[in-house]
């Protein structure tokens, strides 16, 4: 009697265990990490002995194609400073400088303190995903070759005059030109009015001493109108060989 019930209990044990193993096998397959081709990877670790759970949550919204976070008109990301609208027109030298529609235009510049958004090196320093590209942006030129950005008037840093970096690509992504926009100086200019924000202008490098602009700024000089209270408007036409 005892032996029978003992054997029965053994059988019950024998039936239930394979189900567990099956569940474990399924789970580890679903949580397998994808391997890489160039680095040696221990793919699933100790999946023989351990049992990992399968994801069991309501399927989230399906992902949609997202434009590069660069592609936005307002590039401020919360950086404070005097509002500045930048109107940049791209012309094609190979077409009598007519507007280059479809050109991709990236701009970037420093904030009021003179800092750029960027992280360097190969360390494991983390950065907030919502503000990682402050004061960087991309726009596609309209039929007239015009792109517009809403930003702040740049600050300055030691060794350089106030400037905005520009990278112009063709519509298909071929790099056409990397250049910088220079700002007018002197009494009554926006640079003088902003007065370097909290930094002031002590130690400021003017265009004539700037290693990028000292050879002349005719082709890179913008027109800047406006005021610290109403905001500034910067305009420039940049020609490329497209």
């Amino acid at each position: 009697m005892e032996r029978k019930s003992f054997l029965k209990s053994l059988m019950i044990g024998a039936v239930s265990t394979p189900v567990l193993i099956e569940a474990c096998k399924k789970s580890s397959a679903e949580t397998t990490q994808t391997g890489s081709s160039s680095e040696t990877v221990t793919n699933t670790g100790n999946s023989n002995t351990s049992c990992t759970v399968a994801p069991s949550e309501t399927e989230g919204p399906f992902p949609t194609k997202a434009p590069a976070s660069y592609v936005r008109n307002d590039i401020r990301d919360g950086r404070t400073g005097h509002t500045m609208t930048a109107k940049i027109t791209i012309g094609n030298i190979n077409n009598n400088c007519a507007g280059l529609a479809g050109a991709i235009v990236d701009i970037w510049h420093c904030d009021a303190e003179g800092s750029y958004s960027e992280y360097g090196g190969s360390g494991m320093q983390s950065i907030n995903y919502q503000s990682v590209h402050f004061l960087r942006g991309r726009q596609v030129a309209d039929a007239n070759g015009l792109v517009t950005f809403t930003s702040i008037f740049p600050g300055w840093y030691s060794g350089r005059a106030t400037h905005i970096h520009v990278h112009i690509y063709s519509a298909s992504g071929t790099s056409l030109k990397v250049t910088q926009i220079a700002f007018p100086e002197g009494t009554g200019s926006a640079v003088a009015n902003v007065n370097g924000y909290a930094k002031g202008m002590t130690g400021y490098t003017y265009n004539a001493n700037d290693n990028i602009f000292s050879d002349g700024t005719t082709l890179e000089m913008a027109t800047v109108t406006g005021s610290t209270t109403a905001g500034f408007v910067l305009s420039i036409k940049l020609n490329v060989a497209a």
Binding site: E57, S69, G173
Partner: protein, 166 residues
């Protein structure tokens, strides 16, 4: 007694073997962005792979940052939830605000050679205990008497990034 406050890092590698829609979009868009941004460091068009470009010009290290622009739109779609990492109840339990994008390698001629990684850093967690291969943690921000915890297994590509005893 809690062992301390930890931040976990999950390194998600995305390459030609990735099959989910989100991963494939990230791979394609970062590849396009890489081809655009790499031109600046390869003006004589002598090189094809990221490792060649980087060896020739160490300033190309900036490409990790520059190409990350293609990824932040996709990060927003995650609603601050770290993907793939599940607790023992089978649910995603980690939140992130910080990340770091890496180009592992790439070849401007061949997307199958394009391999990237997104490092997700969790919000701070209180590490209470370790049971076999599992860590018992809770959101550091909790103040209730009955602390809601998660039990999760140590797994590949998941590590403790930082530890604080305060």
């Amino acid at each position: 007694m809690p062992k301390g406050t930890i931040i976990l890092c999950y390194r998600k590698v995305i390459d030609a073997n990735s099959i989910k829609a989100w991963e494939k979009m990230v791979l394609e868009d970062t590849f396009l962005e890489f081809k655009m941004q790499a031109q600046f460091y390869n003006q004589e068009k002598k090189y094809n792979t990221f490792s060649e470009i980087l060896r020739n010009d160490p300033k190309a290290e900036k490409l990790h940052f520059l190409v990350s622009a293609a990824v932040t739109g996709y990060l927003q779609q995650l609603n601050e939830t770290i993907p793939d990492v599940l607790n023992n109840l089978g649910k995603h339990f980690l939140k992130f605000e910080n990340f770091r994008f890496e180009i592992i390698n790439s070849d401007i001629r061949d997307i199958t050679k394009h391999q990237v990684a997104i490092n997700f850093f969790s919000k701070p967690l209180t590490w209470h205990d370790t049971i076999d291969n599992y860590l018992l943690v809770s959101d550091k921000s909790q103040t209730e008497k009955d602390i809601l915890t998660s039990l999760f297994q140590l797994q590949p590509y998941l590590s403790i990034y930082s530890l604080s005893y305060e």
